[in-house]
Symmetry: C2
Subunit: 342 residues, 2 copies
């Protein structure tokens, strides 16, 4: 019999179609392949992007020239604009606001041909350092309430360029989903005097059946009530409100388990297109983050059923989380460039 399961943080019910039990090979495979052509993110083409706003560079190299390891530029087609004042105004019964914000691209590597899962952990560490530095800098702008870090990989997941990159959008509002999670965290704390994410980590480590991988600092699980097959969540084991504060800036442990999770997803599901979304506490807001616990959501794009879910907020997941976790756990992950996964 199918099961209805409730997300413990935001209270969303999903249908887990246990009888179908779709295995990785049951999904249509859309392997992310690499084409050719000109790439504005490759070294030597720095003049083809908007000016650099941040980079991790070799000593003595020049801004907007080669010599970088990770490079951050404004998005050439930004969703929001950095200039202008934040005006709120009515339009009859409706409400609107000027589209003030920032939209930046973090070029993860000089290597056009390798995905994040194949980069050295030191390189992924640099990617997270760049995210943190940009988040701290953008949060100084009091117009912004949230810095949304995300990654689209592969065209079906919304990527328009194949060279491995992460993006961030600074917004004058907190995204709806984060608001819902903040409310859920506060409600849980009011009642239990504990963090809901800490409770989740505790129960998942005890039960074990939804664990994908774990190290001293982080745990990756398939959530109890996921919307999508093979969706995973990467959670720090220590209670931390802000991604920017994670382990006082040492992201090596995070880089290792992030790469391992992507590697397991690639092996189990055949290099699928995917999205990663960082959920962290809002900036310029002292009230909200009391009980929040930052985490990453990783969503491989395997299914097409979308409009019904958009219209109802009601999701049907054809793969039980326990089975998805087992497939990911048992995937034979190749050793990384530095010869070690651990």
């Amino acid at each position: 019999m199918p099961e209805l399961r409730k997300d413990p943080v935001i209270g969303r019910w999903v249908i887990i179609a246990t009888e179908r039990g779709k295995r990785p090979t049951d999904f249509e495979r859309i392997e992310t392949k690499r084409g050719g052509g000109f790439c504005p993110f490759c070294p030597g083409n720095e003049a083809k992007t908007p000016p650099e706003v941040y980079a991790i560079r070799d000593p003595g190299t020049q801004r907007d020239g080669p010599g970088w390891r990770v490079r951050v530029v404004s998005n050439k087609f930004p969703a929001l604009q950095i200039e202008g004042e934040l005006h709120r105004k009515p339009e009859g019964i409706y409400d609107k606001m000027s589209g003030v914000g920032a939209h930046e691209v973090i070029i993860e590597t000089t290597d056009h041909d390798h995905d994040t899962a194949h980069l050295p952990v030191e390189q992924i560490n640099d990617l997270f350092v760049a995210c943190r530095e940009r988040m701290i800098d953008l949060a100084k702008d009091k117009r912004f309430r949230y810095i949304q870090v995300f990654k689209n990989h592969g065209a079906p997941a919304g990527a328009s360029l194949e060279h491995s990159h992460t993006q961030l959008i600074a917004t004058p509002i907190v995204p709806r989903r984060v608001v819902e999670e903040l409310k859920g965290c506060n409600q849980h704390f009011d009642w239990k005097e504990r963090c809901i994410f800490c409770d989740i980590v505790d129960q998942e480590l005890t039960v074990g059946s939804r664990i994908v991988c774990v190290n001293d600092d982080y745990v990756v699980i398939v959530p109890f009530a996921p919307r999508f097959p093979f969706e995973t969540m990467l959670i720090p084991r220590r209670h931390e409100h802000y991604f920017e504060d994670a382990y006082r800036g040492d992201f090596l442990s995070l880089a290792r388990i992030y790469r391992e999770t992507l590697g397991r997803m690639n092996v189990a599901l055949g290099n699928p297109p995917f999205n990663v979304v960082l959920h962290t506490s809002p900036c310029n807001d002292w009230e909200a983050p009391r009980h929040y616990h930052w985490h990453l959501e990783l969503i491989p794009k395997l299914t097409k059923v979308a409009g019904f879910e958009w219209g109802t907020g009601f999701y049907i997941n054809p793969t039980p989380p326990e089975e998805a976790a087992q497939f990911l756990r048992e995937a034979a992950v190749p050793a990384g460039p530095e010869g070690s996964q651990a």
Copy 2:
């Protein structure tokens, strides 16, 4: 400059990327084409579906045989199961429920080759009658709290069979999105003592720029803050809580404007895949529907950017609603089978 706009019912902000202003031809066209092969929904193949639960038939014809105009059967691969008791139970900190429900398919026509947009209005009227009859019947089951009617058209929108059909799922919970709308409606009423949807209809008819089409009973608009390009909303002009009660069962006026809207979408966007979702008041609940106003959401599937939106609830819409409405309004809709659109 881009604009942030707030949905007046559920308070969701979206980014309207006014500068990009994507026109219909800027989207990758995924025209819904018809293949061949065996179809279990065609007349003569009635034995290949689960047994008929309802049909509109010619006098003297037999259940599960030919002679029907609209036929409702259980979904062969149901998301929820009709048998069993509704158990709620904990799993540590988590909550789950047995997957009790109903999942039915409404075969809209005997004609394999024609989409809803090309059916006679009388046939579409029969489709809505079938929806109403099944909703009234299923609502007698006290385990159910909501009857979700929806349509997936074309494979990219989640349809697995091409013969024109609508579906319904009866669930023991109210879908999240409907709960949010009910809350928004109640909040608006508490403050204004008016229905928010009635206010929307009033303002849209006054302003005019987001109107797609209108008749005496219904209005179709591109909402002020839509998530997706060319998303539309079909709203009854009279305040009605329940779809089932609409105009005491006369759906001809609804059938006309529904077909016209689908026709305009097909002409303007090149027969795109799409989803339709009915939002109506919950059943077996006397409290909730006080101020709700049923409506249909029509969402053409034009964009791929999905995971970011799923992760954040934050949508970027590349086409301003006023432009989308104009394209749909100006689309040259062919006359229907009975020779008239009006």
